[in-house]
Amino acid sequence: MNWFRDKVLPVLTVVLAIIALWYAGAIALNAPWAYDKATRTGENLTITTLIADTWTQDKPKLPTPDQVVREIWKTTGAMVLRGRTWSKRSLIYHAWVTLSATVLGFALGGVFGILLAVGIVHNRAMDMSVMPWVIASQTIPILAIAPMVIVVLNAIGISGLLPKAIISMYLSFFPVVVGMVKGLRSPDRMQIDQMRTWFASRWQMFWKLRLPASMPYLFTSLKVAMAASLVGTIVGELPTGAVAGLGARLLAGSYYGQTIQIWGALIMAAVLAAILVGLIGVLQRVTLKRMGMLR
């Protein structure tokens, strides 16, 4: 009972408040269109018919939660039931396309980020020369780079998964470099002196001290990197001519004013992000627990 009061109740309250606000917002934003329609047909709107209209429009400014949920069900569960999970109209198919590019981009970004961090920590010249470039790379808007990457790679015959993964990697390696450099440098002077008294080699210093010490930092930055990966992939899907992926769904939705479809794709992306970041959280707990760093 206490558990319900302390954990569930606050969350439930917030969720209910958001849903209530959402419905209220839908009335406010969709009312002008309802009035427009009414004047054209000469109908007389009462409060109830107005509300009923704002909550059921085909192309509302702001779709209601139940419209979004129905859209998602229509494009996921219902498709599965009809055996059309991998059809072009299935959100599961599009989510899968986005997921695979995200995971590949995340893996590339993770490995690249870790390697860069190791280099930066161990090589003074690299520290001085690479870090400014790493930071500069993130000041260029990804929206400007994404189409160029797609076009250039397309010109040399690479298309599909890889260009998107590269854009996703471009966003995800950054938090890994920053977090990993901080983590590898986290051992204090005493710990490093201690290693020196044993005449440990650089390799041993890295393997037995710096790397384990950096683990908490690594996982924290991996979580950020995972979210960035997903954003990168979706941005990378926008200029691909709207073929597949959640980004393509977003773009197609906005072409045709299908706001419900846009929201469906958005919610799907959010769920995907939550699952992926949650998985890293689990990996973090398991790893740190096995290392004895979690009490």
């Binding site: 201690q194 290693m195 008294t197 001290l209 384990p212 760093m293």
Partner: protein, 266 residues
């Protein structure tokens, strides 16, 4: 045990040793004109007010700091060569155990680094953990141990490999009196058993007098040695020796030395 002539078997020999740190506020003379010889098997305490260079001197012996003048030999060679031949174990003020390693793993760490084989590692870890009374705690993580137990584990870690010299920088500084008494007694037993040379930094006069065969009294700004006291106490030292006349005399002389050192200031 306490042959301090040091001819031929000096473990530490410092001559005219000086170390000046260049800081933004000008030079700091952490050590100046230090002359000291420490013979094999001695237990030497360094005592003095804060900032008199005790840690710095220990760090010079350990090749963690380079002197700016004078010479120092450790086991007859330079500190750097001594460090490379892993001639000493160093116990820092904080235990500094790795949180991701068990007690066993922590004590094993220097052995792994020095390339002892697996069977030897296990045997040594078992032996030194028994020596510091931590048998049975192998699988525990550092945070599961009290501060005193952690410090004992860090001493075990410094004892695990074959170094005849043990450098200890206020190893019991953060512990309460009762634990400290107990650890002091254990440390003396350990010293008798292992026959190592020990350099021990402390702020406590009774601790220095109880443990040492030789007490080095230092004074700050610049860091110098003001007195070197050879203890008349016997090798066998029960805790109640601290009520004996000899003990009180040693403690008195240390206190006098500290006071003389402070006179420089005023």
């Amino acid at each position: 045990m306490s042959d301090s002539d040091g001819q031929g078997n000096a473990v530490i020999r410092a001559e005219n040793l000086s170390l000046t740190f260049e800081t933004n506020d000008g030079p700091v003379h952490a050590l100046q004109d230090i002359d000291l010889t420490i013979g094999k098997g001695e237990f030497v305490s360094f005592i003095g007010p804060s900032g008199c260079g005790k840690t710095t001197f220990l760090r010079v012996m350990a090749d963690l700091e380079k002197p700016t003048a004078g010479t120092i030999c450790v086991n007859g060679v330079t500190p750097e060569e001594a460090r490379k031949s892993r001639a000493y174990g160093y116990v820092f003020q904080a235990a500094g155990l790795y949180p991701w390693r068990t007690i066993d793993g922590n004590v094993r760490l220097p052995l792994e680094i020095m390339g002892y084989d697996k069977a030897d590692q296990a045997a040594r870890v078992k032996r030194v953990l028994e020596l510091v009374d931590l048998a049975g705690f192998e699988k525990k993580y550092p945070w599961q141990l009290s501060g005193g137990m952690q410090q004992r584990a860090s001493i075990a870690r410094a004892l695990a490999f074959d170094a005849d010299l043990l450098l200890m920088d206020e190893p019991f500084g953060a512990l309460d009196e009762i634990v400290r008494d107990h650890l002091n007694e254990q440390l003396l037993k350990l010293w008798a058993k292992t026959n190592k040379t020990i350099c021990f930094v402390t702020h406590s006069i009774p601790e220095a007098a109880y443990l040492s065969t030789k007490i080095v009294v230092m004074s700050p700004r610049p860091g110098r040695i003001t007195d070197v006291i050879d203890s008349p106490l016997p090798a066998e030292r029960p805790l109640d020796i601290r009520d004996s006349k000899e003990f009180l005399e040693v403690a008195h002389r240390v206190r006098e030395g500290l006071r003389a050192g402070h006179a420089y200031d005023d």
